[in-house]
Symmetry: C2
Subunit: 356 residues, 2 copies
């Protein structure tokens, strides 16, 4: 009897060629060539600044309005940025408001930081209902906003985000804005959430396909938070990999066409998987950003197990993301594989799934 | 009026040529050439295993007795290893026993993990007095052992370490053994602390001069701890930089002569600075490992300020390491600079210091 699948980590390292993975959320397209160009003659080895290399922070500052290098801390991916900011904001009994469905690490990060997650549900369109948010946010220490969202693929309305900025500003609630998919939006430009108590979490992983190098950052005009993060990082990991930072700097020098070209590819894949699932009769949101679909399905854990053991397909149980009636499919893979995956799904829905 | 120096971070980024830095503890000699050889054709970019690359863990397993790849987790330097293990061992009100003088991050790491540091003093030779240790360890959740020690430069007696192994085993107290200087010992081979509740923290930073790449690891036969660390790292930073790990693997392939050659250089420098300071009449321990001397000095903060502002020398206030009557000098620098530093110190002791 096969092992029952209980978390995304089950799939780590499982990747033979006949397997089609709609699992892990990482670009399959390579980073800009420039990122590798610096490696040939790379010779540095000493500690870097805990805050991150000055040249990389200067380059980032040019991408944000009225930003300065001192507003950034370079981190081991967005994960460490999130971990550090939650830890420095930690208060005994503090509650952190999360949208549901949520990125599956959020509740863990909140608990690891010694606080408690609180939740509100996105509406039937995968959007924030401001009235519901308004009630839920009262008394919270901070709120995590994730637009575009992993796993929903939705992008929040600018009007809503502005209302959240104002409300949290008035209440003195910190906004941690996870914008790691800011460059992968199909419907509009990214809206940067701003404010005195706003901390933006971002990464080079998705924009420049550099997941494995673990270079992310946080950005805030709140110097007190920045300084506390640097102080903590001094003791918990020191500088982020100097070679990873050098690669990230070179990646940022690539022409905007690198990103535009990728978005076009993502959009084709999005159309393929969304159209295909829609034709199979599934109820799902049309992705506006990122690279995930989250169709409604009965008994998602059984679906995930059947797909893996009977159809050699990896998909993630929505339960892991706070969506116990859905399954997440990442479409970060070649269009031919998406097609084959849809074919297998059709067989599955015509067969096993009918008996659920 | 110059800014008063209050922590090691004051010196970060301060490094003009006339300045002699006995500050930061990092090798000035370069990593093995092999570490860079893989960069030329490096093309990977995807997420790696959270636990660390299998080939690197296999290579490490060959260096430890009866070890297997699954006993290791590759981390963002020893700092992250320490942070993660303290966080997974965290209990409300838990006390972590630290030697004094201690590595300056330890108390911070303990507090960040939601526990409290407890201290015992090393004896007048910079060694652990087992009877004192025995009393202090009662009721503690874990103890951190650091041999060779930063900042004392001392290596603990094997007989004492064996007694600590036995006592902690009996008491059920975890031993976190920070052995990052294990390959830089002048007096004997390293003694690996072992046991069911032992977690060894180590790094490629000192042995292979790879500080900036931030590749460290923890090693334990306690699979429960290993699994909890992996689970936490999944959410707090994911895999350690894949390119850093590839470089570390190549570094491990260098001949043992790389390390032996370096130890010889360190020993010459040790003799130079220890002899020089001894001749200046300072009271200090002769380093048995690592690359620090910690002479007794009145008013260490004033010493550090005077040396920096009047003599263009960086040294660290012992207070930052729990030694308020000492100053730490790292001798990770060229012998000509050590000589010049000793010359400046002689002038300082003949001048300003007399008026303290």
């Amino acid at each position: 009897m096969p092992q029952k699948i209980s978390s995304p980590s089950f799939f780590i390292g499982k990747g033979d060629d006949s397997l089609i993975s709609f699992g892990s959320g990482q670009p399959d397209l390579p980073p800009p060539k420039g990122a590798y160009s610096i490696l040939k003659h790379y010779k540095a080895f000493k500690y870097g600044l805990i805050q991150g290399e000055e040249n990389l922070r200067s380059s980032l500052a040019r991408e944000y309005p009225n930003a300065k290098p001192e507003h950034f801390v370079i981190t081991n991916g967005a994960s460490e940025a999130l971990d550090l900011v939650l830890r420095v904001l930690s208060r005994p009994g503090g509650r952190i408001l999360l949208p549901r469905p949520y990125y599956y690490s959020y509740p863990h990060n909140v608990l690891y930081a010694g606080m408690r997650p609180a939740y509100y549900d996105l509406d039937k369109n995968g959007k924030i209902d401001f009235e519901i948010f308004k009630k839920a946010v009262q008394g919270c220490r901070a709120v995590i906003i994730n637009s575009p969202s992993n796993p929903t693929g939705t992008v929040q309305e600018i009007a809503t985000l502005k209302k959240i900025e104002r409300l949290c500003g008035t209440l003195g609630v910190y906004v941690i804005s996870d914008e790691v998919y800011k460059d992968l939006i199909y419907v509009r430009k990214n809206y940067l959430i701003q404010g005195e108590k706003v901390v933006t979490v971002n990464s080079f992983s998705k924009t420049y396909a550099m997941c494995g190098f673990r270079v992310g950052y946080l950005y805030s005009k709140n110097i007190e938070v920045i300084e506390k993060v640097i102080e903590m990082k001094t003791h918990t990991s020191m500088n982020t990999s100097i070679v990873g930072q050098a690669m990230a700097l070179e990646a940022m020098k690539s022409p905007r066409s690198y990103i535009a070209h990728h978005v076009k590819i993502w959009e084709e894949r999005r159309d393929m998987i969304y159209g295909g699932m829609h034709d199979l009769g599934l109820e799902l949101w049309k992705p506006e950003g990122a690279f995930y679909v989250l169709p409604k399905l009965k008994n998602p854990n059984r679906v995930v197990n059947d797909l893996y053991y009977k159809y050699k397909m990896i998909a993630y149980d929505g339960t892991w993301f706070g969506a116990p009636d859905r399954v997440r499919f990442s479409y970060a893979l070649d269009i031919s594989k998406i097609k084959e995956g849809l074919r297998r799904l059709k067989t599955f829905f015509g067969g096993e799934y009918k008996k659920y």
